[in-house]
Amino acid sequence: MNQPLIEFDRLSVEIHTKAGIVRAAQDVSFSISAGQTVALVGESGCGKSISALSLMGLLPSAARVASGEIRYQGAPLTGQPRETLRRLRGNDLAMIFQEPMSALNPVLTIGEQIVEPLIKHQRLRPKAAWVKAVALLDKVGLARPDKIAESYPHELSGGMLQRAMIAMSMSCQPKLLIADEPTTALDVTISAQILDLLQTLQKSEQMALLLITHDLGVVAQMADFVVVMYAGRVVESGPVRAIFKHPQHPYTQGLLAARPVPGARLARLPSIRGQVPNPMNLPEYCSFAERCDQAQAQCRQGQPEYVSLGAMHQSACFVVQKREFA
């Protein structure tokens, strides 16, 4: 049987604020197979991080899953007792974050932070856990790992810290690693190294990787499958080649066009006009319609359905719909 590792099934997340309800994610559906790399792409605030956090069961207290569910190996994750989720976290599902500097506790040494999941989930004795932690640090390519383990976060550089974060997340050989913009805060050269490391580890450990990013270069390099989100919705998803070669949704097209291509000297990069709509009051129709050059009357009348565009490739757009079924 070919059951996906993770399935997002029409997941909707709402955040309750004093000013009103923010619909942070709506009807998000996609799946991740074992060992696969899925890239989640979109602007800040489009709902990628919220989706990932709801997978981890780490939604902020004001947010809640309004409908839909996430399944892990076929079993629903959403609605499970917190304790069940907690046991999965760090063990089967691991996550690394954008700012390694702030994601590590400043008052604990690196080693102390790595041994925690080892002791918690793998029931290692503290000494054994420490040995393993040093080994993990070695594995992520840090020189003098024993010294690093005794250091505090502020004594290390951003790249080193992100490696340490990766070591920490890898400690229990997770089945899925979520990397939330893992290189955004790093220098270009360092970020390339980190991505390499992630790729190597993913291969050797045979784990799935959910890569959240807005960097299409990274996507092209790493991903097997791409999910594009806009204003809380998945607008297009498909295998990486299909998305890059044949982007269907005007938003995806816009994104790709706005990407500088080496060698192509344009006077000005094309950009998407207009602004992201206020998440507090999203329109009851396609939320990209106001910025879309191809928008038609229909686009302002309702939410587009998904259109299947071949193997695993689908998009939610009236324009595409029309074109396909024309």
Partner: protein, 305 residues
């Protein structure tokens, strides 16, 4: 290879904030805080009653009446009379004026002192900073109550009209209060000074005064407001404690603090609650209201929460 330029993100932020300046945003948030708003309304009502109330009272502030001493509340005297036969309600309202004024003025004074000292210290740096901070250290080192007691006796030596003793109480409270605030303002200024916009004012060649008051002050206003609000509560309580030690507002001028003196007599405390309950409740409710309001303001000014 980033496809969202940082400019674009900035534009988003601006767009979100464009319609509302931070101050207005804060005010809007405050208006939605029900607790803070009820506190504010309570305080406004209280001030109104204290200001206008005595006009409608048929009793004089200071007229003693041996025949009407310590009367329980009645239709004539809504809150009874004190041991000299004076109307408690009338005195309570006058006392409210005094206590609130003491609170307000002492805070305004210490905030002003604290701000100027802290701002100069933070902005000028160098020896001015050292000097001001050493003085602040010195004042913080000296325990406040002994200093207040000694100052109280010392100040009474100066040939000051007794009515002005009230203002000396305020002065004393603010003399004690400024160093903490100065440190806070200095810290604030130090971090603000490093921001780009201050660099810009320097590039533009604005004068120190203009930079300080035109650009730095407005940025420290929120925190000052919060501190000042809770400071008023502190000063009202402080005045009450000083009155207990006989250093506060001097009778027969009433203040909530010295009206509560009667609670010191155990008998009055037990049998004549109308002597101490009204000023006690007045202090209690006012201080709670001010604290709730201050808390609401803090929440409103701090978008993080």
């Amino acid at each position: 290879m980033r496809f969202f330029s940082s400019k674009m993100r900035q534009r988003q932020d601006i767009a979100l904030a464009a319609s509302l300046t931070p101050m207005r945003q804060a005010l809007r948030r405050l208006r939605h805080n029900r607790a803070a708003m009820s506190a504010l309304i309570f305080l406004l009502l209280l001030i109104a009653v204290c200001l206008a109330g005595p006009w409608f009272s048929s009793w004089q502030l200071d007229t003693t009446n041996a025949l009407q001493s310590r009367q329980a509340p009645s239709m004539d005297h809504w809150l009874g009379t004190d041991f000299l036969g004076r109307d408690v309600l009338t005195r309570l309202m006058y006392a409210g004026r005094i206590s609130l004024t003491v609170g307000l003025i002492s805070v305004v004074l210490s905030v002003a002192l604290g701000f100027v000292a802290g701002a100069l210290s933070g902005y000028c740096g160098g020896w001015i900073d050292s000097l001001i901070m050493r003085v602040a250290d010195l004042l913080m080192t000296i325990p406040s109550l002994p200093l207040l007691i000694a100052l109280g006796a010392l100040l009474s030596e100066l040939k000051i009209e007794p009515e002005i003793r009230i203002y000396m109480v305020m002065l004393m409270l603010s003399l004690i209060g400024w160093p903490g605030l100065a440190r806070m303002v200095r810290g604030q200024i130090l971090s603000l000074r490093e921001r780009d916009f201050m660099l810009a004012t320097e590039v533009l060649g604005l004068s120190l005064r203009r930079r300080l008051f035109g650009h730095l002050l407005p940025n420290t206003v929120p925190i000052l407001l919060v501190v000042a609000t809770t400071g008023v509560a502190g000063a009202i309580l402080g005045e009450a404690s000083l009155s207990y030690l006989g250093l506060g507002v001097v009778p027969p001028t009433p203040s909530w603090g010295n009206m509560m003196d009667s609670a010191n007599s155990f008998i009055d405390f037990k049998r004549r609650p109308w002597l101490w309950m009204p000023p006690g409740m007045a202090i209690f409710l006012t201080v709670i209201a001010i604290n709730v309001l201050g808390d609401g303001m803090r929440d409103a000014l701090d978008p993080k929460s």
